[in-house]
């Protein structure tokens, strides 16, 4: 039991040790301002990764999150620019993202297509749709009567802490509750543990699977809103490659890609590790070529240490 608890804390301990090393190299790292920076920068990946955790726990994967983020951002920006009220913008955008996820989920669950392929396909199609929708150009979200309140979502502060950090915290609280305190959470683990047995135990596995991708779509579009709000502009290429960062966060947090085992709080630590890594490599002014190498090496090291002690 004690050993297991230690195992659970390993990503967190890793993050702390890593942070200490960095703050010795560069004391600025520990400034309040920088810590808030890291948290805000991490929030987008962390929110996507929360949805990805659901998907991966069921043994699936979602490569389409980056495209859904971009499409949602474009929808939000276009609506803001068209002068729609904030609440409508949020509702429509989040429904759009969720619907995209549900469609992907249906392809996987009813069409029996492997998640990797199904989401690869939706990644491509949704990216194409985003380019068609935006005509390949950014959409300015800095005009329209809701533009100020919209901008606050990504750029505002409450008590000196950035709004996206609150959003991230709320998302994780809800996700944690869902995974660990509700029936749906248990079903998610069961589905990933043994799909056939889950079906024989009377779970509607298809519905569950579909919903899980819906959640991922919802959170990807929430991230799209935050990102678009921060930039006051929706980029057609936004989110490209984000799926990989999200997957890395989930795995660094100790969730197995095979499904059925993992922890949501690990994921937020995983996202923070990646965020701290990006931030510190920038602070240390490491050239971008070497940044890639360093980032890869740190992730590998973390995963290897994690494996070793198991």
């Amino acid at each position: 039991m004690n050993k297991e608890r230690l195992n659970r804390l390993k990503p967190l301990i890793g993050l702390l040790i890593f942070s200490v090393i960095i703050s010795i190299i560069n004391p600025r790292f520990l400034s309040i301002f920088n810590i808030l920076n890291v948290l805000r920068q991490t929030s987008i990946n962390a929110i996507i990764a929360a949805g990805m955790t659901f998907v991966i726990l069921t043994g699936g994967i979602d490569l389409s999150v980056g495209s859904v983020l971009a499409f949602s951002g474009a929808v939000a920006a276009a609506m803001v620019a068209a002068g729609q009220p904030l609440i409508l913008v949020l509702i429509v955008t989040l429904i759009t993202g969720t619907a995209m996820g549900l469609v992907t989920g249906t392809i996987i669950s009813r069409g029996k297509v492997q998640a990797f392929i199904a989401t690869l396909v939706t990644m491509t199609i949704v990216r194409g749709a985003t380019l068609v929708f935006t005509e390949g150009k950014p959409i300015n979200a800095g005009i329209g009567r809701a533009s100020d309140s919209f901008a606050w979502l990504g750029g505002g502060y409450i008590l000196g802490i950035p709004v996206p950090v609150y959003i991230m915290a709320v998302v994780y609280a809800i996700v944690w509750y869902t995974l660990h305190q509700t029936r749906f959470g248990r079903y998610t683990y069961a589905l990933g543990g043994n799909e056939e047995a889950a079906r024989l135990s009377g779970l509607s596995t298809k519905k569950l699977k579909t919903i899980v991708y819906g959640i991922s779509g919802f959170l990807a579009s929430l991230s799209g809103i935050i990102m678009t709000s921060r930039l006051s502009s929706a980029q057609p290429t936004a989110g490209t490659g984000y799926e990989l960062d999200a997957i890395a966060a989930v795995v660094l947090g100790g969730t197995s890609l095979a499904g059925g085992s993992g922890r949501i709080l690990g994921t937020v630590v995983g996202a923070l590790i990646i965020g701290v890594l990006n931030n510190s490599l920038n602070l240390m002014n490491v050239s971008s070529y070497y940044q890639m190498i360093a980032k890869g090496a740190v992730i590998l090291l973390a995963v290897l240490i994690d494996r070793k002690n198991k």
Binding site: N37, N140, G155, L231, S233, N285
Partner: protein, 276 residues
């Protein structure tokens, strides 16, 4: 009907990518001019991949085009694609980026090195010849990033301005924002930022606004968002490249070729520093 089709001039346009507004505008320039001239236009997107570009060239040749306008993914890598068109005696015009090999009827572009130099000189002027700058670089390995970086660094090497941080932000606004935020943490003193394009410049501007510091931002491309920002006093300047004009002039040059008129080997498109 059939007659009309075979009469119509077919122009092929190969673009390095279409997910960047710069090239979308270039395409729109080509399209506008093609409609006026009554040309059929075939547009293919190389998605920043020279191998795909080569395949696209083959597919264009299969279509039997009369002239090819190409915006190369990379000046070196495009050589064999151009030679392929040369073998079929299809005239080739390069746009925005040149080709280091193969026979090209003309090259229409603004000079990226010169543009970088222009930005450098502007910053020297504003800072009075001394200060600390940050350079946000474009996608590693692209010629635009290389050339603008070269021009800029050549310019400031004549002054006592120092580059305190140089980071890649992939021509991307979000990355521009995040990277700049981090740099601001590391550097207590920054006077100016030069970004290899406006997307990154606009991202950096967001970061600077958030930090409450006073830093000059100079971008590249003069895209609509950036021009607006300059006019509102956000960005200090942007180097205008007029991609629409580049595209439009491409078709005009093609028309001359088809009429067997003479063309200069290089048709420069003015760069212009847009400032308040």
């Amino acid at each position: 009907n059939n007659q009309a089709e075979s009469d119509q001039v077919k122009v092929g346009l190969l673009l390095s990518t279409l997910d960047n507004p710069f090239f979308v505008e270039m395409k729109e320039g080509v399209e506008a001019a093609a409609i006026i001239s009554g040309y059929t236009l075939i547009v293919l997107d190389s998605q920043n991949d020279p191998a795909k570009e080569l395949g696209n060239m083959e597919d264009l040749i299969t279509q039997g085009v009369d002239v090819i306008l190409i915006n190369p993914t990379d000046s070196d890598a495009v050589g064999n694609a151009i030679k392929m068109a040369n073998r079929q005696s299809i005239p080739v015009i390069t746009l925005d980026r040149g080709a280091s090999e193969g026979k090209v009827a003309t090259h229409i572009a603004s000079d990226n090195v010169a543009g970088g130099y222009m930005a450098g000189e502007f910053i020297i002027e504003l800072l009075g010849g001394t200060g600390k700058v940050v350079e946000l670089e474009g996608i590693a390995g692209t010629s635009a990033a290389r050339d603008r970086g070269k021009g800029f660094n050549d310019a400031i090497s004549t002054s006592s301005i120092e580059v305190v941080a140089r980071q890649v932000a992939d021509f991307d606004r979000t990355k521009g924002l995040n990277v700049m935020e981090n740099i601001i943490q590391a550097q207590s003193e920054i006077d100016a930022v030069f970004a290899h394009n406006d997307e990154m410049a606009l991202g950096a501007l967001k970061a600077i606004e958030g930090s409450g510091r006073d830093i000059i931002v100079v971008g590249f491309d003069a895209n609509p968002d950036a021009v607006r920002s300059v006019s509102e006093g956000g960005m200090a300047a942007t180097v205008a490249q007029k991609p629409y004009d580049i595209g439009y002039m491409g078709i005009e040059a093609a028309k001359k070729i088809l009429n067997s008129e003479m063309l200069d080997a290089y048709i420069p498109v003015d760069l212009q520093l847009i400032k308040q």
